[in-house]
C-alpha cells in the first residue's frame, strides 16, 4: 500500500482581486522529489504557504500523511519559505535550539546540521551578522533538524555562490536518496531537471502540467528547421501529421513532434513537398525549453 504523503485537493486562493491560485491539485508519494516550477508570482509560494498553515486557502484542502493537517504533522516537515526567518539577536545554535524545541526533538542534531552546511566556524555568531549566503545556508540547516520525512524548500539556492549551490544540490540529492520526500520550488530549471523525479508547472496560479520529469522531457521532441522560403516552410509544416505544434522563432521554425521520428524522415517529408531544408537540428527538450513553450501557450 502506497498512501500519498501529501494530497492537495482543489486549492484556491485570492489576495483581494488578484487570483493567486486556482483549483490546484497534486498528489505526492513517499520518496518523490517534486519540482514546482513557475515564473515569479505564479503561486508557488502560495501553495507552500498553505501547506504549512501560514496562509489560509479560500477553497480546497490538503492531507498530510493521509490525515487532516494538524500542527504535529508539520513537526515531520522541514520547511524554508521565501527567505530565512530567524531571531536576529540570537546565534545560529540558539536559533536552531528553538527549532528543535518546537519540533520536540533533542539538540543532538544542531551541531550536525550546522556542519552539513558548513557553518560550524560561525555557529556562535549572531544571526544578524551573517551574510546573505550564510543566512540561506542556516535556513537549509534548520529544515534538517529532527530528521524530517518531508522537506519543503522554496528557492533554496537564493543568494548562494556556485559552490554553495552545488552543496545544496548534493544535499537534496542525498536526503532524497534516503527516502525523504522533497518539494522544491525554483526558477532554476536546470536544478530541477537534475534533482527532481516529478515536476509541476504553474502559471498565474493555474497548474499547466504535472508528471514525471522523463515524461515531460520525452513527451515531445523538438526540432528546429530553416529553409529559403520560410513562409512556404511554415505552410507545409503545420499540415504535417506528426507535428503537434509549429512556431516561428527568430529566423527558424520550431516543431514539436507527436512521436519520435528520425531526422531523415522529417527531411524527406519536406523534400517530398518540394521544399529543401537548409538547417535541421533535433534534440530532446530541456526542461527549460519545455517550460518556456508551455508558458507561451
Amino acid at each position: 500500500m502506497n498512501n500519498p504523503v501529501l494530497e492537495i485537493q482543489h486549492l484556491s486562493k485570492s489576495y483581494g482581486h488578484i487570483r493567486a491560485l486556482s483549483d490546484f491539485s497534486l498528489e505526492i508519494h513517499k520518496g518523490d522529489v517534486v519540482g514546482i516550477l513557475g515564473p515569479n508570482g505564479s503561486g508557488k509560494t502560495t501553495i507552500l504557504g498553505i501547506l504549512l498553515d501560514v496562509l489560509k486557502p479560500d477553497a480546497g484542502g490538503y492531507l498530510w500523511f493521509g490525515k487532516e493537517p494538524v500542527s504535529s504533522s508539520r513537526k515531520k516537515i522541514g520547511a524554508l519559505l521565501e527567505q530565512p526567518l530567524f531571531y536576529p539577536y540570537l546565534s545560529a545554535v540558539k536559533n536552531l535550539k528553538i527549532v528543535a524545541d518546537i519540533k520536540g526533538v533533542s539538540y543532538n542534531s544542531v551541531d550536525e546540521v550546522l556542519e552539513t552546511v558548513g557553518l560550524t566556524d560561525r555557529k556562535n555568531g549572531k544571526y544578524k551578522t551573517y551574510s546573505l549566503g550564510m543566512k540561506q545556508r542556516l535556513a537549509v540547516a534548520a529544515t534538517l533538524i529532527g530528521n524530517p520525512e518531508v522537506l519543503i524548500l522554496d528557492e533554496p539556492t537564493n543568494g548562494l555562490d556556485p559552490k554553495s549551490i552545488a552543496l545544496i544540490r548534493d544535499l537534496i540529492a542525498d536526503v532524497a536518496s534516503k527516502g525523504v520526500t522533497v518539494l522544491l520550488a525554483s526558477h532554476l530549471l536546470d536544478e530541477v531537471q537534475k534533482i527532481c523525479s516529478h515536476v509541476a508547472i504553474l502559471d498565474k496560479g493555474v497548474s499547466l502540467h504535472a508528471g514525471r520529469v522523463e515524461e515531460v522531457l520525452n513527451s515531445a521532441l523538438r526540432v528546429e528547421i530553416k529553409a529559403e522560403d520560410m513562409e512556404a516552410l511554415y505552410k507545409i509544416a503545420v499540415e504535417l501529421a506528426f507535428v503537434s505544434e509549429c512556431r516561428k522563432e527568430k529566423d527558424g521554425l520550431v516543431l514539436l513532434l507527436k512521436e519520435d521520428i528520425n531526422t531523415a524522415e522529417i527531411n524527406k517529408s519536406f523534400a517530398d513537398r518540394g521544399i529543401y531544408l537548409t538547417y535541421l537540428s533535433a534534440g530532446k527538450r530541456s526542461l527549460e525549453s519545455y517550460f518556456l513553450d508551455l508558458l507561451k501557450e
Binding site: G49, L52, D53, V54, L55, K56, V70, S71, S72, S73, R74, K75, K76, I77, A79, L81, Q83, L85, F86, Y87, P88, Y89, L90, S91, K94, K97, I98, V99, D101, I102, K103, G104, A142
Partner: protein
C-alpha cells in the same frame, strides 16, 4: 504549557533589549515606590502649615496601607510594561519568525498561548516587585508589626496583578492586530491617553466606568490619605468585586478575539 514557556523564554533571555527594558521598568517602579513618600510628606507638610487643624503624623508606607498605596502608584507605570509586550510581540511579525514557528510545527493557538504566558510572567514580575517593595517599606515604617496587619489588604497585590495583566492583554491584542511596533505602540498610547478619556467624557458615568482602561483604573481606587480626608473626599479602600469582574471579562474577550482572528488570518 511548560514547553511553550521554555520556547518563549529562549527568545528573550539572550536579548539585550529585553533586559534593558526590564531593568528600566524595574528601576522606575522601585524609584516610584521608594521615592514617593518624600514627595507626599512635602505636600502634607505644606498643607499642614497652612491648615488650622494639625495633621496626624502618618506614613503611607505603614502596614496595611502600603499595599494599597504602592498598588495605586504602580498602576501608572503599566504603560511601560505594555511597551515591552508590544515590542516583543510585534518583533515576531517584523522578522516573520511567527511564520517559521508555525511552519516548524507550533500550532497557531500554541503560539498565542506562549505570548499569553509572556504577559503573565511580566505581570507576575511586576506584582513581585510590588510585594517585595511593600514588604521592605512596611517593615521599615510600621511601628508595631503583626501578621494580621501585614496580610490585611494584601489583596491589593492580586488586584494590581489583575490590572497589569488586563492591560498587558489589551496591548497583546493590539500587537497581534497591528503587527507593527511603532504603530501599535502609538495606537495604545492614543487610546490610553486620548481616545478613551474623550469617549468616557461623552458617556454617563455609570457606563463610562466600564470602559476598559477606566475599569482597570477603578480596580485600585485613589488611596485615602489624611489630606484627602481633610478635604472631605473618601475613596474606596477596598477592591470592588464588580471592577474585578469587569477586568476578567475584558481579559477573556481580548484573548478570545486574538484566537478567533488568528484562526483564519494569513501570517
Amino acid at each position: 504549557m511548560l514547553e511553550l514557556l521554555k520556547i518563549d523564554v529562549r527568545k528573550y533571555v539572550y536579548s539585550k533589549v529585553f533586559w534593558v527594558m526590564l531593568a528600566v521598568y524595574f528601576a522606575l517602579l522601585v524609584l516610584f515606590f521608594f521615592g514617593v513618600e518624600k514627595f507626599v510628606n512635602e505636600a502634607l507638610k505644606n498643607a499642614s502649615d497652612s491648615s488650622p487643624v494639625s495633621m496626624p503624623a502618618f506614613s503611607i508606607y505603614a502596614f496595611p496601607y502600603v499595599w494599597h498605596n504602592l498598588a495605586f502608584l504602580g498602576g501608572f507605570l503599566k504603560i511601560f510594561l505594555a511597551l515591552i509586550i508590544l515590542y516583543f510581540i510585534t518583533s515576531e511579525f517584523t522578522y516573520n519568525t511567527i511564520r517559521q514557528n508555525i511552519m516548524n510545527g507550533m500550532s497557531r493557538n500554541s503560539f498565542i498561548v506562549s505570548k499569553l504566558l509572556f504577559v503573565v510572567m511580566l505581570s507576575l514580575f511586576s506584582a513581585l516587585v510590588l510585594l517585595f517593595s511593600g514588604f521592605v517599606l512596611g517593615m521599615l515604617h510600621t511601628e508595631e508589626i503583626t501578621w494580621a496587619l501585614m496580610v490585611q489588604k494584601s489583596g491589593f497585590i492580586a488586584a494590581y496583578f489583575l490590572e497589569v495583566f488586563t492591560f498587558g492583554v489589551m496591548a497583546m491584542l493590539l500587537g497581534f492586530l497591528i503587527r507593527k511596533p511603532t504603530l501599535s505602540i502609538g495606537a495604545l498610547a492614543v487610546y490610553y491617553y486620548i481616545a478613551e478619556p474623550i469617549i468616557s467624557a461623552t458617556l454617563p458615568e455609570r457606563v463610562a466606568q466600564y470602559l476598559p482602561v477606566e475599569a482597570m483604573g477603578n480596580l485600585i481606587d485613589i488611596p485615602n490619605t489624611a489630606l484627602m480626608k481633610m478635604f472631605g473626599v473618601n475613596f474606596r479602600n477596598y477592591v470592588s468585586l464588580q471592577d474585578g469582574i469587569a477586568c476578567v471579562v475584558y481579559s477573556v474577550i481580548f484573548i478570545l478575539l486574538i484566537f478567533l482572528i488568528y484562526r483564519r488570518k494569513d501570517l
